[in-house]
Symmetry: C2
């Protein structure tokens, strides 16, 4: 699981310097950057990279299932490269910090078939909210 770049190469993702930098910026755990933050970090290594290119790359990584979009209540979406480690998020209601957490139990099992209204349910997204130690 650990190396995003390697996985992308194996999957035959066309590699360019811009795409490599984006993947490198995202690689790791507990990473939840906005598109703009990804662009800023990428631009440290590749000053000419454009926002549009970052958005393109992020969109593809999401389609490939290598990265997940996290829409916190704030405005900009955040991108989470931890797609191969099923996990949920714990968000501080005050400062917005996000932590990855790994609850016990399977939330999917909590939705009985009579509550599924004929839907074929395939995913669950769980977000815990509260105050982090610094904000409490």
């Amino acid at each position: 699981m650990s190396d995003l770049l390697e996985r992308l190469r194996e999957r035959g993702w066309r590699m360019t310097s811009q795409r490599r930098v984006v993947a490198e910026v995202l690689n790791g755990d507990h990473v939840h950057l906005t598109a703009d933050e990804v662009h800023a970090r990428a631009a440290q290594r590749l000053p000419e990279i454009s926002r549009a290119t970052v958005y393109n790359a992020l969109g593809e990584l999401v389609s490939l299932g290598e990265v997940t979009e996290v829409s916190t209540d704030g405005r900009a979406k955040r991108y989470d490269p931890n797609a191969h480690h099923p996990h949920q998020h714990l968000v501080c209601s005050h400062c917005g910090t996000i932590r990855d957490v790994h609850p016990t139990g399977n939330p999917l099992a909590d939705l009985p078939s009579e509550e599924r209204f004929g839907f074929s349910v395939s995913e669950v997204e769980v977000t815990y909210r509260g105050l982090c130690p610094s904000c409490a």
Copy 2:
């Protein structure tokens, strides 16, 4: 729980024709409108109502805890007046339809204290995703 307007009056919410119409539009179950949809429906009864006023009113209803913001992955936030009936959402990945559902079990209990990292967790938000009968 049923009448939003009544609750607002009891809480001393300053009432104007615009605010009344917004509250009336939102009142009910399984309502998940965007700000723009709220504006459109409100404008049927009060043609001069402005978007800014609708946004103001929605923002206050959210602060008051009478309405919940639902950010599906799409662009515009949706507003759910069902804040007094704890429930989760079942979203169709294809057409975006939202249904309210009432799972068994308490998701809060699934997050053990060693996974809370010192946060005081107060809410959980659960979204089930899948295909609805029409889109399957």
